[in-house]
């Protein structure tokens, strides 16, 4: 069978698990294309008005896959919880319901299951069994497939811990072992990106912050590369944990990077209208004020013009350059003296 997986939201966390599971059962996987203007337009026109852009984009990806007639099912999991006593954002927990109400004529093509991912294997097996009841595979095969799914997820986490981004993981999903072994090149400057994986990695929606930084010779690390153990102790600073695992990862991971001496600055990326983002951004603000490391927030919405974004990123890079004593002028990797986005013919 052909299973469509929307390239949005929790795709940027659990894709390896889903890939391992479905492919070992012999199902074909069809990913939606990386977000583009068409997908955003589809999403905006099919979603309710007052949700964040990330969920709107998800609508677009689901619609894109539903429109492909050869896709039998579109996989829309309900990630209910990723950690004990922590639950996901209500909009994300309600995704299958949102999709079913947005695409009424296609409800029977939406494949769903409820996941409690951080409470051992049992709930995951249960969730996948729920899926297979809908697809019709044998119990034996499901057990094997779940093992494969978990194996892939572990490899992906290992790749992230070794400094590769999730985008690299997606690209090298068939050979994660060699990705893990591949060393990450160190740049002169390193900027940490704090935020939910789906905001950090959706390169279209966020104006391609990652490439803009990399093109200016800045290396990046992200909060999902961190083992939650390393930032556990920041709960004390926050008085109390936030109620969502990903929000804690962004907040505490950001604080961890603020404290790291080899990180030059932290950029947080969030979508407009996201309530919990405004809280962790404030926490990062307060913490950076104590430590004295530059922090900048980028809040994305439907806009595609990126002049304002380019100005902010250029100025942020200037700021960390000056902080390192490198001055504002004579960039070595930039012979024509121009900045990102323009190429002048040599005169």
């Amino acid at each position: 069978m052909k299973i469509g997986i929307p390239r949005a939201l929790y795709f940027y966390v659990y894709y390896p698990m889903w890939y391992g599971f479905f492919s070992s059962l012999g199902h074909e996987i069809k990913l939606s294309v990386p977000t583009n203007k068409e997908i955003i337009n589809l999403g905006v026109s099919h979603s309710v008005d007052d949700i964040c852009i990330s969920v709107k984009v998800f609508h677009g990806h689901v619609k894109y896959l539903l429109d492909k007639k050869d896709v039998d099912f579109v996989f829309v999991p309900r990630i209910a919880s990723e950690e004990k006593y922590k639950y996901t954002c209500p909009k994300l927990a309600a995704l299958p319901d949102l999709m079913k109400s947005a695409f009424v004529s296609d409800t029977n093509r939406i494949l769903t299951a409820t996941f409690y991912t951080r409470q051992g294997e049992k709930p995951i097996v249960k969730a996948f069994e729920e899926i297979e009841r809908q697809l019709g595979d044998s119990d034996e095969k499901i057990k094997m497939a779940v093992k494969m799914g978990i194996r892939y997820q572990k490899l992906a986490v290992k790749s992230l811990r070794s400094g590769h981004t999730f985008l690299d993981v997606v690209k090298n999903i068939r050979d994660l072992d060699s990705l893990i072994k591949k060393p990450v090149q160190k740049q002169r400057y390193t900027v940490a990106l704090a935020g939910f994986p789906y905001d950090v990695y959706d390169t279209f929606t966020n104006g391609d912050v990652i490439s803009k930084l990399e093109d200016s010779g800045v290396g990046i690390v992200t909060t999902d590369m961190l083992d939650p153990k390393v930032y556990k102790h920041y709960s004390k600073y926050m008085i109390k944990d936030l109620f969502w695992y990903q929000a804690n990862a962004a907040a505490k991971g950001g604080m961890y990077y603020i404290d790291s001496p080899d990180i030059d600055g932290v950029i947080s990326i969030s979508s407009f209208n996201c309530g919990i983002s405004s809280i962790y951004q404030k926490l990062l603000d307060l913490y950076s004020k104590e430590i004295g490391k530059p922090v900048m927030h980028i809040i994305v919405d439907e806009q595609t013009g990126d002049a304002g974004l380019a100005t902010r990123i250029e100025a942020f890079i200037d700021l960390i350059r000056v902080k390192r004593g490198d001055g504002l002028v004579a960039q070595t990797n930039n012979l024509h003296g121009t900045e990102d986005g323009v190429h002048v013919r040599s005169l």
């Binding site: 203007k37 997606v170 603000d285 004020k289 100025a315 002028v329 986005g341 323009v342 190429h343």
Partner: protein
């Protein structure tokens, strides 16, 4: 020997600034003109005018370095041949620190955007820019001046004469306008309304941009709106300290980038990229088209000089901008994108 000067161009959304600085980094000629929709023509007109003024004052000149900044910095940079194209935050900060070395906070309000820049020990440590809407910027004031029927230049004097400023919602022009109409009908004078408007602009600015950050003296206020003495006073009341308006308040961005261009040329030791004043005679065209290479339909901008394309930008993948240079990183990026697309098609 001809006089050596550096040229700084700041192409803002509403106005364009063209300045020349001498060896001592002092501005010897500065122009402040409205951009009026066609930045290239405005830049050329500015250059011609500045050139004639400066040559009549100093005789022959030699341009040793050129820098551009502002939201039109890329366009200006490729048209005149800039040595450095710098974002306006760094350019403004550089000039402010040059003028007031112990500055800690810079307020900058221009036509379409406003910025706050925090400086500690002569280096930028933080900054913020206004978000999407232009509330609390020069355009907002311009619009309200027109509505009240008072010349924007006289706005400052009006607000100084106010005895009892009224409170006006400053977050959005639409609300501000209905608030103003209401207060006018209640019998408030133009003076009180204009003063209230200035206060609301400052309140809005500080709430949006400063957001609980530490505001330390010295304060420098620059950009077109700093001409308005009413706003300056409103800032002083809000922060409880003197707010310095530097002597080249409207030209700071252009001045900063001219100085940065000089430094750039000094460090690299290369000759300037400046194409000379003959660029004003060349024909420049811009073209915008939608690339149909993929579903992104990027708006691609093309700059054509005498029939020859000199720059592309706006494409997300580098398909067009790569045509002019073989920058390795760019190609990598295009490859990466392509392989991502291919993967997803599998």
């Amino acid at each position: 020997m001809s006089k050596q000067v550096a040229l700084g161009i700041d192409v803002g959304s509403v106005t364009t600034k063209v300045i020349f600085v001498d060896e001592k980094d002092e501005i010897i000629e500065g122009l402040y003109i409205r951009t009026k929709g066609n930045p290239i023509d405005t830049i050329k007109a500015g250059m011609i005018e500045a050139y004639s003024v400066i040559t009549s004052k100093f005789g022959d000149i030699e341009v040793t370095a050129v820098g551009t900044t502002g939201s039109g910095r890329q366009l200006a940079g490729v048209v005149v041949g800039a040595d450095i194209i710098k974002n306006e935050i760094s350019a403004h900060a550089y000039a402010a620190i040059h003028e007031v070395p112990d500055v800690s906070t810079i307020f900058e309000i221009g036509g379409q955007d406003s910025k706050i820049i925090f400086i500690r020990n002569g280096a930028v440590t933080d900054f913020a820019m206004n978000t999407v809407c232009a509330a609390g910027t020069g355009s907002f004031l311009d619009h309200q001046a027109e509505r009240i029927g008072v010349d924007i230049e006289k706005f400052g004097d009006y607000s100084l004469r106010a005895t009892n400023p009224v409170r006006i919602a400053g977050r959005c022009t639409v609300f501000a306008e209905s608030d103003m109409i209401h207060k006018q009908q209640m019998g408030a004078t133009s003076e009180d309304i204009i003063a209230g408007l200035s206060e609301s602009l400052v309140r809005n600015y500080l709430n949006n941009l400063a957001r609980g950050k530490e505001l330390l003296p010295k304060f420098v206020f620059q950009g077109g709106v700093s001409e308005n003495i009413g706003i300056v006073k409103a800032f002083e009341n809000a922060v409880g300290s003197e707010v310095i308006v530097p002597k080249n308040n409207k030209l700071m961005g252009a001045w900063g980038v001219a100085m940065l261009a000089k430094r750039e040329v000094e460090i690299t030791g290369q000759r300037t990229n400046f194409k000379g004043f003959k660029v004003t005679e060349l024909e420049h065209k811009t073209r915008v088209f939608y690339c149909d290479g993929c579903a992104n339909n990027c708006e691609v901008y093309e700059v054509i000089e005498n029939g020859e394309t000199i720059a592309y930008w706006g494409d997300r993948c580098g398909k067009w901008s790569n045509r002019l240079t073989s920058k390795v990183r760019r190609t990598e990026r295009a490859d990466r994108r392509q392989s991502e697309e291919v993967n997803s098609e599998k």
